[in-house]
């Protein structure tokens, strides 16, 4: 079939303008495909990064205990005990599990935490606050507090606190000033504001505060154990798999971030579906373009096809010649379109670094291989109809033309 390839190539190079325009058309379709892939993928990364980037990907807690059945189920009556509220749920065996979780490939960071609520008081102003006690070296392990700092530092001593910018504004305090923290356990301490952050999430900027783990133990009267472990993953899309694995290996309750963000996921899925629809239209356009161009070529070359058949070329040979043309057009158009797409997308910063208002296209998600493969397959499929039409040419009827 080497000879069939030569004929196909000769036909393509014989009409350079027509072939060039056809390949350019395919290339534009592939460019649209690549651009949409990069845009939809980039938007997803951008949105997830902005909304999920500063929260834990998996949260590990002690499982809530089921109410105890006081009678056997076979007794015909169910009597249950109301869930106890007098005792806080806490992880007593965290020290045993932490090294295990830290060692898992794909786990970027872990942060054992003690959490509770309280009030920040300055003079007559009181503001409710959610307090997170963290290890001093892991202040930025989950939310990148260091990057979000607008003043001060992330150094957490036993008598310091880091608060959000809105909260600082409400209280009218700045770095170096002292504020009183009353915990919901009735413990009160004076703390120095060591840093002020602004994550851009109002719930955090207005209500979150970070203290050291030892301060939190005192504030929330928890001499042993912790409230939870937050885990950050290299790939947040793997959160559900990791949560299942951690739960299986530790027996603890591991909740992926997706469990609390169903609407965001729905939105991302809808966005991906829209993108896929546009990509499908681009592919259909390519297929129609290649099919119509090759049909035209088939019609124009009917006498030549008749001569080839008269000279002993079989129907299979004729089909091969036209399908090869389709394949070459698809592959060349695919390579050019994907190449131009890559070149056009490369100057854009990745979505994680995209400036506010910038186009969050992700050059890494151009789906170049897929675009080229689908285009080649599409072009081959598109060429089958013209190729079959060519193979059916009756030499007797066209030789006389």
């Amino acid at each position: 079939m080497l000879y069939g390839f030569k004929i196909a190539l000769r036909y393509l190079t014989a009409s350079k303008t027509q072939t060039g325009l056809l390949i350019a058309g395919v290339g534009v379709g592939v460019f649209v495909f690549v651009f949409m892939s990069a845009l939809i993928g980039g938007l997803a990364v951008f949105l997830v990064q902005r909304t999920v980037g500063n929260i834990a990907h998996v949260t590990i807690e002690e499982p809530a205990r089921d109410p105890i059945s006081l009678l056997p189920q076979s007794a015909g009556a169910l009597v249950v005990e109301q869930r106890a509220t007098s005792q806080r749920t806490q992880l007593r065996t965290a020290d045993a599990f932490l090294p295990l979780i830290d060692a898992m490939p794909g786990v970027a960071a872990t942060s054992p935490q003690i959490v509770g609520n309280g009030f920040l008081v300055r003079g007559l102003i009181t503001a409710p606050v959610g307090v997170t006690g963290v290890e001093t070296a892991k202040v930025s392990a989950i939310a990148d507090i260091g990057k979000a700092l607008v003043d001060g530092s992330t150094d957490l001593g036993n008598a310091s606190i880091i608060i959000g910018s809105t909260l600082a504004g409400d209280l009218g305090i700045g770095v170096g000033q002292v504020v009183r923290l009353q915990s919901d356990r009735g413990v009160e301490r004076s703390l120095v504001v060591s840093g002020i952050f602004e994550l851009g999430v109002d719930a955090l900027d207005a209500r979150a505060a970070f203290v050291s783990l030892s301060s939190a133990r005192t504030l929330f009267d928890l001499p042993q154990g912790i409230s939870r472990i937050e885990v950050k993953l290299d790939d947040l899309n793997q959160a559900e798999a990791y949560a299942a694995r951690i739960a299986a290996e530790t027996g603890l309750e591991a909740t992926p971030w997706t469990a609390g963000n169903a609407q965001l996921l729905d939105g991302l899925r809808a966005q991906a579906s829209s993108g896929n629809l546009i990509k499908a239209f681009a592919l259909v356009t390519i297929i129609i373009g290649v099919a119509s161009a090759l049909l035209l070529s088939t019609y124009r070359r009917r006498p030549e096809i008749g001569i080839m058949r008269a000279m002993g070329a079989g129907r299979g040979f004729v089909i091969f010649v036209f399908v090869t043309q389709g394949a070459l057009i698809g592959i060349l158009g695919g390579l050019i379109g994907a190449g131009i797409g890559y070149a056009a997308l490369s100057p854009f910063p990745v979505p994680e670094l995209a400036p506010p208002g910038g186009l969050p296209v992700d050059v890494r998600q151009g789906a170049y291989g897929l675009a080229i493969s689908l285009t080649a397959i599409g072009a081959i499929l598109a060429s089958i109809l013209p190729a079959r039409a060519a193979a059916r040419v009756d030499p007797v009827s066209v030789i006389g033309q």
Binding site: P303, M308, M311, G312
Partner: protein, 226 residues
């Protein structure tokens, strides 16, 4: 001389079963060609010459009758077998030469061999060159077909017809589109090849002068050969 091909009671009807008026072009035609013959096929337009050539060239199946060549019954052969048979044993020369326009003279000549082998072999190129030298086109081998004159194109077509050393060459008005000088050259070439290689030629023509250069004249009239 041995028999190369034989057709018996050949009937070809157009429009049969197609809802059109039936036209019977060949009406029980009988014909035998011996190896090495140089024959002219004469007859008025519409007499069935082209239809007969198409059937003998395995480009068309008869409605009924027998068609035997080189001992093979071609009447019942399938398209794949007929295509292969045509490639190996039959050459064609058409009135309008019908060269592939995007290919050089040499590429056109070696086409039947390249299709058979699936590639252009060195042996095919050597034979192609030899044939082009023989038809006087050694200086035009690498010219595109579109850059050749009418007479040159027809000589390329003759070289192409001879490429696979066929036993039979069917020529449909090979000089019909040429001036007298070119026509004479082409016929002289055909006679020389026929003489030297014993290739059988069946030449369809309206031109009595051309027919006179052939040793046998077959007249087709009213769908039968005389």
């Amino acid at each position: 001389m041995s028999t190369l091909l034989e057709v018996r009671n050949l009937v070809k009807t157009y429009g049969e079963g197609e809802g059109e008026a039936e036209t019977r072009v060949l009406k029980g035609l009988n014909l035998t060609l011996a190896t090495g013959e140089l024959s002219a096929l004469l007859g008025p337009s519409g007499s069935g010459k082209s239809t007969l050539l198409s059937i003998l060239g395995t480009l068309m199946q008869p409605t009924s009758g027998e068609h035997v060549m080189l001992g093979q019954d071609l009447t019942r052969a399938g398209d794949r077998d007929l295509t292969e048979f045509r490639n190996r044993h039959i050459g064609f020369v058409f009135q309008f030469h019908h060269l592939l326009p995007d290919f050089t003279a040499l590429e056109n000549v070696i086409f039947p061999a390249a299709v058979q082998a699936g590639r252009e072999t060195a042996a095919a190129r050597a034979r192609g060159r030899e044939l082009l030298v023989r038809v006087g086109l050694e200086s035009r081998m690498d010219f595109l077909a579109t850059k050749l004159s009418g007479g040159q194109k027809q000589r390329v077509a003759i070289a192409r017809a001879l490429m696979n050393q066929p036993e039979l060459v069917l020529a449909d008005e090979p000089t019909g589109n040429l001036d007298r000088a070119s026509a004479t050259q082409v016929m002289a070439l055909i006679a020389e090849i026929n003489q030297n290689e014993k290739t059988t030629f069946l030449i369809s023509t309206h031109d009595e002068k051309i027919a006179e250069t052939c040793r046998r004249r077959i007249r087709v009239a009213d769908g039968k050969a005389e």
